[in-house]
């Protein structure tokens, strides 16, 4: 290791030259996790989730306090019986959610969206309008995109539900999730799970040759269609994005659909120089 320089040899260890492989947790964090009873592999996963959820270490501490107060994490399926006691119109429903069998006793008025968010802690599906007008709640039921806010949970008996949480394969993102990140197909992120679920189901619709409002010939025999930009825009118009990421959403979907790279639509102005204070001053003097 001659790059070290001779005079450093007795001052440094070999390992100082190696970047740590993964994030080590601090003592504070360690203590908190001990309190939470989270060890080993699940500790690593938990930390990853907390980090991904944007929670600060302080928020983590708060969760630990909640735990001390009698548990955290809302009502899981195991609490179904407890809930049912308080309901005057409970309905039992069994469905597959992201590949897992879930048994719930729900209020007959409960939507699939609220069942996911309030009972199963699958808060990835979003409530934007609760009236089927915005698409933020879009999930995939038996292969088709569905507005979960307009779907009563009680009608989902035996159904197969895929939510945004079920798209990735472990740490490996679904190609549509990757493409949305690559093309910055979101800003605030709130409509994003619905957009992605919608886009994933759209790929199947295109493969099956289903027609849309802008299809040129709706009487044509169904066969796999190559979606134009207009087709993607039309077929994605049930998913509102108030941040206005639409062109990037179209780019992400197009890339997944065609398998070809889609170019960016921004550029820095031509020319090497920045418009500097000096050049402005010169202009002022000339003017």
């Amino acid at each position: 290791m001659d790059k070290r320089g001779e005079h450093l040899e007795d001052w440094m260890n070999e390992e100082d030259w190696v970047e740590p492989e993964e994030r080590r947790i601090t003592e504070d964090e360690e203590k908190l996790l001990d309190e939470l009873g989270i060890f080993g592999e699940s500790r690593r996963r938990f930390l990853g989730q907390v980090s991904a959820a944007g929670l600060s270490v302080l928020a983590l501490q708060l969760i630990a306090e909640q735990k001390a107060l009698g548990g955290v994490g809302g009502r899981g399926p195991e609490d179904a019986a407890l809930i049912a006691e308080k309901l005057e119109n409970a309905v039992k429903v069994v469905m597959q959610i992201n590949g897992d069998k879930k048994t719930l006793e729900v209020d007959s008025r409960m939507t699939l969206l609220d069942a996911l968010r309030e009972r199963l802690q699958l808060t990835g599906s979003k409530k934007g309008c609760d009236h089927g007008q915005c698409g933020a709640c879009t999930v995939i039921v038996d292969g088709r995109r569905v507005l979960s806010c307009l779907t009563l949970a009680a009608t989902c008996e035996g159904k197969n539900v895929t939510t945004i949480e079920g798209l990735a394969n472990g740490d490996e993102l679904h190609p549509m999730q990757e493409a949305f990140i690559k093309h910055d197909g979101f800003q605030c992120g709130y409509c994003t799970p619905g957009q992605i679920c919608s886009a994933v189901a759209l790929m199947v619709e295109a493969k099956n040759g289903e027609a849309s409002y802008v299809s040129e010939n709706i009487q044509a025999k169904p066969r796999a269609v190559q979606l134009s930009d207009d087709e993607i825009r039309e077929r994605m118009s049930g998913n509102l994005c108030r941040c206005g990421a639409y062109p990037n959403i179209v780019a992400a979907i197009k890339e997944v659909h065609t398998g070809k790279e889609v170019a960016q639509t921004w550029q820095f102005a031509a020319g090497d120089d920045l418009a500097s204070l000096e050049s402005l001053r010169e202009k002022d003097e000339e003017g």
Partner: protein, 736 residues
């Protein structure tokens, strides 16, 4: 390691957002959580004569119902409830009196075991009212307008505007109207509150956690240190979450009463009166010019609505004073009281409304003069700020015009309206100027360098979508010489160092500057530590010859010799090195006029048979100092363009003035642009080197991208059809 600044960088919170793991306010599932649901008033003005909750109380699952009769009378220790965004007047306090000041005002809160139960019970509440006549339209009562600012603060006329207008050889005079519009962020406002002993914790949707903290502390009469507000993700806000909405105080009140965590989420319908809106605006612009197009006089009047109880204003004609060189300028701005909730800043407040009128009027003048609209703007280009003569710290607007025009193909434009076609469609090209102040506010941040070679950056900022998480991470990583993966930025928690409000397009300038300075300070300390010990390779090397690259301190230009941050800490027996930093805007700024600028070019295609307008292409040329992350910056400009399309063509909150009630408080009746409404949007960044604004050289851009767009679209519609629409939105009925 090359600088990260200016490199398109993927969002650091991207994975959280595409996997559904990002937690928004309503998504913290606490044990024993109770659900609150609001009941709203049916009338716009008067008082509640009686309210019957007996049926609702008997409904299944109901825990407690609060009305003005039984809600605890809270201390309210500050007249404006410590809301840093509150305008003058008295803030609305839910359930504290029988008075009704706007339709769909909260009159009761039902708390039940489940959401379904609370919602059902809220429908069983019956209220009787003593009604009074309400006025919710400003157009019949423009004469009741009062100055938005006290006389001593209101800007004085510059030169002799009336005289110069009278004598001008060429003049135009026109009135413009803009309806109420709503933010309609995708995430509804939501709060979850719980108490532990005398400590209040709230998960809230907000653009300013410190504001909500101080607000709640003042309402409950408790120390600010006893309130924690947590808001790691904000599902869009656009100004709508600047002020604490009623739900946060009601959730905290209910939680204290029933001794359980309480969650209140507004329904989409309820949001229309929950957080404010862009005010209804009437404007009149008069421009006088000489035959060559030089402006001789601009007189810009604006009147906007406010509520009966607060004096909301947003400086509607303000940009007119500085955007063009003109010796005689007058701006008048009045507000009129209406029986509606108070308006609130909505993306590019004031500027986008004012510039719609001014930039439309300039377009009208261009046709009168038969001068190309872009040329007319160049003729009146302001080299220095005409308001006070100060030089601009930087202003690449001229380059925005030329770069944008070239990219758009403006030179191929024919001046004559109705001169361009695409088959059966009329084609129109329009242009407008945009501007927004490059604001910066004091901001605190903390940095912790850890023994594992990572850095933790903390500041109570927000990220409603512009990419604060990513940009601040990039700035820290760049300054520290660490890869982005080794830096973690925490925001959205009132226990973190104080950051200013996440509004006015000033977060990167404010928080970014603070973080940059904090990182520089901590590096200095690391250099000092690295020099300690006889064997240190840096023993006599001064700071300016040291650098940190990829986590390693080394002598500049000698990449072979280095010490990792980890080793430096270890050698000094430290587990971490922490640095708190308070930053303030550069005092030099006062000597300059400071603003971002942009030019927006728009193509529309109009179907005259149907009256439909489609925006087929937008080119945004933007001069906002240094671009930190062009990927997210482009998204900001794109978002601004889409907002401009909505404002110009579809967005309008309809009010039935007989009842003072908003009639389309939903996303089916209020049309925000959908995917099919948006085509090509291109951004050109004309970077400015500007060390006056701040050392990062950043100005704001979230609002900027919207400011000129509605006018550019209206101008393009005129170019396509010869029809000047001065009343937004430009819906098909106005085109036929």
């Amino acid at each position: 390691m090359a600088s990260l600044i200016g490199k398109a960088t993927r969002r650091v919170d991207g994975i959280a957002k595409v996997t559904g793991r990002a937690k928004y306010a309503a998504e913290f599932n606490l044990t024993d959580l109770a659900h609150g649901y609001l009941a709203l008033s049916a009338v716009a003005k008067g008082r509640i004569a009686s309210i019957d909750i007996s049926k609702a109380e008997k409904a299944a699952g109901v825990i407690k119902i609060f009305t003005h009769k039984n809600a605890p009378k809270l201390p309210f220790s500050d007249p404006q409830d410590k809301d840093g965004v509150a305008p003058g007047g008295k803030p609305f306090r839910a359930l504290q009196s029988d008075q009704i000041m706007f339709s769909a005002q909260p009159i009761a809160l039902v708390v039940a075991e489940t959401f379904e139960q609370a919602r059902h019970a809220a429908r069983l509440i019956e209220a009787e009212y003593e009604k009074e006549t309400s006025e919710t339209d400003i157009l019949p009562i423009l004469g009741k307008g009062v100055p938005a600012e006290p006389a001593e603060r209101a800007p004085k006329p510059r030169g002799n505007p009336e005289g110069a207008f009278r004598d001008a050889p060429v003049k135009i005079e026109a009135e413009y109207t803009i309806p109420i519009e709503h933010h309609n962020a995708m995430e509804p406002h939501a709060s979850i509150a719980f108490w532990k002993d005398d400590r209040l914790t709230v998960f809230d949707k907000t653009q300013w956690v410190y504001n909500v903290r101080n607000h709640l502390a003042s309402i409950f009469g408790i120390p600010e240190g006893k309130v924690d507000v947590i808001s790691p993700f904000v599902g869009g806000a656009f100004g709508g979450a600047l002020r604490p909405a009623a739900n946060v105080m009601l959730a905290a009140m209910a939680a204290r009463e029933i001794k359980r965590p309480v969650k209140i989420v507004y329904s989409r319908r309820q949001l229309a009166t929950a957080h404010g809106y862009r005010p209804q605006t009437w404007q009149k612009v008069r421009i006088g010019a000489d035959e060559k197009g030089k402006f001789l006089s601009i007189i810009h009047e604006a009147i906007g609505n406010t509520s009966q109880f607060e004096t909301y204003s947003e400086g509607t004609p303000g940009t007119t004073r500085s955007i063009y060189a003109c010796p005689n300028v007058q701006t008048d701005y009045k507000i009129v009281k209406t029986d509606l909730a108070t308006p609130l800043y909505m993306r590019a407040p004031g500027a986008v409304s004012g510039m719609f009128a001014l930039e439309s009027a300039i377009d009208e003048l261009a046709y009168k003069l038969k001068i190309d609209p872009l040329e007319l703007r160049l003729i009146n280009y302001a080299e220095t700020d005409p308001e006070d003569g100060k030089p601009f710290s930087s202003k690449a607007l001229r380059e925005c015009y030329s770069e944008g025009a070239e990219r758009f193909g403006w030179s191929k434009r024919k001046l004559e309206p109705r001169s361009m076609r695409d088959g059966p469609l009329l084609v129109g090209w329009g242009v407008a100027t945009g501007t927004w102040g490059a604001y910066q506010a004091p901001s605190a941040s903390r940095i912790t360098l850890k023994a594992d070679g990572t850095a933790l950056i903390q500041s109570a900022a927000s990220d409603m979508g512009p990419g604060t998480y990513t940009t601040i991470t990039m700035i820290a990583a760049d300054t520290l010489g660490l890869p982005v993966e080794k830096v973690r930025f925490e925001l959205g928690d009132s226990r973190l160092p104080e950051a200013p409000v996440h509004g006015g397009s000033m977060t990167t300038a404010s928080v970014g500057s603070s973080v940059q300075e904090a990182c520089r300070n901590v590096l200095k300390k690391m250099f000092e530590l690295a020099r300690k010990g006889d064997a240190s390779p840096f023993k006599n090397v001064p700071d300016d010859q040291l650098e940190c690259e990829n986590g390693q301190i080394r002598i500049k230009g000698k990449p072979g010799v280095g010490l990792t941050l980890t080793e430096v800490l270890r050698r000094n027996g430290l587990e971490k090195l922490e640095e708190m930093h308070n930053s303030a805007p550069n005092k030099e700024r006062d000597k300059y006029s400071i603003a971002s600028h942009g030019a927006q070019f728009v193509e529309v295609k109009v179907d005259e048979d149907l009256g439909t307008v489609r925006v087929t292409r937008i080119v945004e040329a933007t001069a906002a100092g240094r671009i930190m992350n062009p990927a997210t910056a482009h998204s900001q400009e794109m978002g601004g363009a889409v907002w401009g399309i909505g404002m110009a063509l579809t967005e309008e909150t309809e009010i039935d003035h007989r009842y003072g009630r908003m009639m389309n408080p939903n996303l089916a009746g209020y049309h925000v642009p959908a995917n099919a409404d948006v085509r090509e949007i291109e951004t050109i960044f004309v970077e400015e080197e500007d060390k006056i604004v701040n050392d990062l050289g950043v100005k704001g851009m979230g609002e900027l991208g919207m400011v000129g767009v509605p006018a550019a679209i209206a101008n393009a519609v005129f170019h396509a059809t010869g029809r000047r629409v001065r009343d937004l939105p430009i819906t098909p009925d106005k085109m036929i």
